[in-house]
């Protein structure tokens, strides 16, 4: 069969830019963690916590998260379909429009333009840019899948299509707004409806941007790295469809104990608990794929990233449903427990899979072997330790905070004032900042390693470009 012409250049560009935005996200995250400890580090009006925090989340989710989705999806879709992209020009447009959108988002957020909706802060002109960007991406991926040379679709393609369709629907519905000026709009919904629609978007953005895409990547890069197929393709298909059926009902678990109708809260709670099954279907599939291959955890640094990543996904998808239960939510909601939970997902699950994907791609898109596997191992340990310090310290902080908020005296009055509970948080905020600095150090090691791979890496061997020898990829 004639070898298809793959577009490597566009993948390379998206990898480069997603790394840039990833560095911005982590750096700003570390800065805001220190602003919590030293309020004097707030420099109004542009560099305050209130403006930098959404910059951190947007750079993380849309710059690093979506950037790596673009990079790795554009790589994977060509291989799984055994054909080049439907349109290289559209992919180039997507690259530059992506960067223009992220820059526009960063500038407007620092200038204070915001819808005030968490994870959907961007005002309507940038919403329009996001929609154009996503449509360009969607057309290219879907058309490439349509013209594929492989009859049957591997599981990664299913997750990719779900992510594309899911994000489009969620974003369009939640973005519905009435513009009153160039940078000010009001939501099309009001009151509890607005809250309900927003958290339907908010939680399912996690599903369609931070769960389905990393699963697509995991199912692709794990077998490619080990050289052994996944345990069961049929199990992956069932996990996929059950995830799709269940996820979209769970958003209202963010609104437990609010004026949102009780039955919606109960529905969200029930579906959140049911979601353990499909999530763990993928976790178990990943673990069983390692049967007879566990020595690769020691020998192959890519496998370490991937298996720790899916492990964090497993933990995340147990902790999440637990938080969605009314009684537990009443205890930990609004405490520092929640950022601990979110960062296990973003720093642990999503980023570990993305790091593995990028390392896997290095010889294939730059034509150079990874410069230093010991540095890749150092990167691994720094980000894992940094993330654990971050999350564990905030879980402890959250339980303590909740305990203090709920403590009452014999006469029913509160035992602690709010300020007293805040003062007790300082040691944990320090631990969070230290965890963040360690994670940042890991990211810097990663960037240095990639940079040196491009500059001084050994020329990629045939093994790097031939999947038949993928089992040797990443062997330490």
């Amino acid at each position: 069969m004639e070898k298809p012409e793959y577009n490597q250049a566009i993948v390379r560009s998206f990898v480069n830019w997603s790394i840039v935005w990833g560095l911005v996200a982590v750096l700003v995250g570390v800065i805001v963690s220190f602003q919590m400890i030293y309020p004097d580090l707030n420099f109004p009006p542009y560099l305050t916590f209130g403006r930098l925090r959404p910059l951190h989340t947007n750079a993380g989710i849309y710059g690093w998260g979506v950037g790596t989705i673009f990079a790795l999806f554009l790589y994977i879709v060509q291989r799984l379909c055994k054909t080049g992209l439907w349109s290289n020009k559209l992919a180039s447009f997507q690259l530059w429009f992506f960067n223009a959108t992220i820059i526009a988002a960063a500038v407007t957020l620092l200038l204070g333009y915001t819808t005030s909706k968490e994870y959907h802060e961007l005002e309507w002109p940038i919403d329009v840019m996001v929609v154009v960007l996503w449509v360009a991406f969607a057309i290219n991926i879907i058309m490439t899948i349509i013209k594929r040379k492989e009859e049957q679709m591997y599981i990664s393609l299913w997750y990719m299509m779900a992510a594309i369709v899911g994000v489009a629907i969620l974003y369009l519905v939640n973005a519905a707004a009435v513009p009153v000026s160039l940078f000010k709009s009001y939501s099309a919904y009001a009151g509890t409806n607005d809250a309900n629609v927003h958290w339907w978007f908010g939680h399912n953005a996690v599903a369609m941007a931070l769960t389905a895409p990393p699963l697509a990547m995991f199912y692709y890069f794990l077998p490619k790295s080990t050289g052994v197929p996944i345990y069961s393709h049929r199990l992956s298909i069932i996990s996929f469809w059950s995830l799709i059926f269940m996820y979209l009902w769970t958003g209202a678990h963010h609104l437990l104990w609010t004026p949102v109708p009780d039955w919606i809260q109960t529905l969200a709670m029930a579906f959140s608990v049911m979601l353990i099954a499909p999530s763990w279907g993928s976790v178990i599939n990943g673990y069983l794929s390692m049967n007879g291959q566990w020595q690769q955890m020691k020998e192959n640094y890519l496998v370490k990233f991937l298996i720790l990543g899916i492990t964090f996904y497993g933990l995340q998808t147990l902790q999440g449903p637990m938080q969605a239960i009314r009684t537990f939510s009443a205890f930990i909601h609004y405490t520092d427990w929640i950022p601990g939970h979110i960062h296990m997902g973003t720093l642990g699950w999503v980023s570990l899979i993305a790091f593995a994907g990028i390392y896997f791609l290095v010889p294939r898109i730059y034509g150079r072997e990874v410069y230093s596997i010991p540095l890749a191992n150092l990167h691994f340990w720094l980000v894992v330790v940094g993330q654990l310090i971050y999350s564990v310290s905030l879980w402890v902080a959250g339980v303590m905070q909740a305990g203090m908020w709920n403590a009452v005296n014999a006469d029913g009055s509160l035992t602690y004032t709010f300020m007293e509970t805040m003062v007790e948080m300082y040691p944990y905020w320090w631990a969070r900042a230290v965890g963040g600095v360690i994670y940042l150090a890991g990211v810097l090691v990663f960037i240095y390693n990639i940079w040196m791979s491009v500059r001084k890496g050994q020329p990629a061997t045939a093994t790097a470009t031939a999947t038949a020898a993928a089992g040797s990829a990443g062997r330490a």
Partner: protein
Amino acid sequence: MNPSALLYLGITFGLFVIFALIVLRTYKHKNKERGEAPKFSMLDDE
């Protein structure tokens, strides 16, 4: 039950039926080989 509640229940039940059919089709013994084929073909030469 009012019509909107019935519609809601009907859609939920319909989705469940579709899901059950997907499970049955995927795990039908006849489809085993075909269902597992993509995990091998994805390992082919790039």
